[in-house]
Symmetry: C2
Subunit: 291 residues, 2 copies
């Protein structure tokens, strides 16, 4: 039978502000998609389930979710959101709801691991041995794919919570991370930028010091990622990276930090998402196909 | 046939100051070992080859080597030391020499990836999903094992070259890394400690601020490792970690940096090597067995 006869794959990119839903013949052959706002779990999950139910019997569902989440299949809480600041979602068994409602096998991972998988297989990482996907927006998070598989470890990476060195022109700001203050997320996320300069980075003129400061923090993330994992491709996504010129500033500063040291550096790349804003939903569909 | 009838496995822990050689029935059944000082490649490799030749036909050789090294099997320089400051070793085809001399298949990886593999399978990491092994001695290096395999990426990790935040009581010292100045290796390696305090850490009294300062830098490495890779077990080895009380200080400071944030934190451990000083040579024998 050709791909048109197989049951459709379904995917959910589950974010803190919206859920993106899609069905397709494969991760790159989407035939319908729909976006709903994130409200209470009950409202949001029922509405998503209703939409999927229109598409007949599904072959599998992948969920790329905001976190933290439980990824250990041997843990009874597998498939749940764990201790999120979004209080009503804490403990929500998001994978279990859809497994029951749609009666399909469910693949489940973080939103950024999903996006990393999508970029690795279909985007900026084609042919690379490893790839990290970092989103810089409301928060900062990262996923890591090594030899074709997402890295889980004890749970999943939380790359936004490293402590970069403070930029000399940015010593006074306390940072906005409720847990860590001036960790990377507390210094360089969209809300951290607004807290200092009352504007988003893309609204500040190119000569404003904010560009240099934020690039310096993101360059330290890239440098540490390569030092820790020798990641070949680092994809920087999310709203803040839509600022013109920022990627080039990050690359320049990462190169200065490295000072020509890392072995295999000719393979290292820092790039924007090859799939643009579709990395997340493509990743969700990949998780469906992989399960 | 029982294991006693099979050809012996051979291993080399190739370090900057000494080569440890061993043969055994398995990575944990060593029947002979020998240590020689590292001199020129010619002298050192010939002497090592002579020792192995006494042990009859070998089944395979694993080399866990100081670096940087070329690990890409598709690269003609696979098995070579690359751009090391030890000038006479630059470009040395260490794997090729032994493949020819001993006519055996050769497994090849970094010394710290070898030690990480040994700790993962036979030491402190038994049962864990991922493990990092960090050595803090003449230099600082780290290896990472995820789902049972060493992480290579673009080449191999170089964990000693992250930039930790400076400790408030240690702002003046410029650091001794020839490339980066005050990177982790430039601040917390054995020679960096001696450069500041004219003594090794274990010779400084427990109340000396050096303990707190060095622990703070190593705790930042542990914190960043968990943020990047969610590594379950972090093994801290090398001469500096033989300082009484240092491991506990690192654990305390890493816990303060984390502030209860990382998911799966009940699985995280920071420990001394389960195999003690044998992690490296056990890893070399594992690389022989795996090839």
């Amino acid at each position: 039978m050709n791909t048109q006869d197989k049951p459709l794959l379904a995917g959910i990119e589950a974010g803190g502000t919206k859920f993106v839903l899609a069905v397709g013949h494969s991760p790159t052959e989407v035939i319908a998609r729909h976006t709903i706002p994130t409200r209470s779990p009950e409202t949001t999950l029922v509405e998503a389930g209703d939409w999927f139910s229109q598409h007949g019997k599904l072959g599998g569902l992948g969920i790329a979710s905001f976190g933290p989440i439980e990824l250990d299949r041997s843990n009874p809480r597998w498939g749940c959101i764990t201790d999120t600041p979004k209080a009503s979602w804490e403990g929500c068994d998001i994978a279990g709801y859809f497994a029951d409602r749609l009666n399909v096998p469910v693949g489940f991972d973080t939103d950024v691991n999903g996006a990393a998988m999508a970029e690795y297989y279909f985007g900026a990482g084609k042919g690379a041995s490893s790839l990290a996907y970092v989103t810089v927006g409301t928060g900062i998070g990262g996923g890591l794919v090594i030899d074709g598989r997402p890295v889980h470890g004890a749970a999943h990476p939380e790359m936004g919570h490293i402590f970069p060195r403070r930029h000399p022109s940015d010593r006074e700001f306390a940072g906005i991370c409720p847990r860590h203050g001036d960790c990377l997320e507390g210094l360089a996320s969209g809300p951290a930028i607004k807290a200092r300069w009352s504007a988003s980075l893309s609204d500040l003129p190119a000569e404003h010091e904010a560009h240099e400061i934020i690039a310096r923090y993101l360059a330290q993330l890239c440098h540490s990622l390569v030092a820790m994992s020798a990641a070949e491709v680092i994809v920087l996504g999310g709203g803040v990276l839509k600022t013109g010129g920022l990627l080039d500033l990050v690359k320049k500063q990462a190169s200065e930090l490295n000072a020509g040291y890392f072995p295999g550096q000719s393979k290292h790349q820092i790039v924007l998402p090859g799939l643009g804003d579709d990395a997340g939903i493509t990743g969700a569909l990949l998780l469906a196909a992989a399960d």
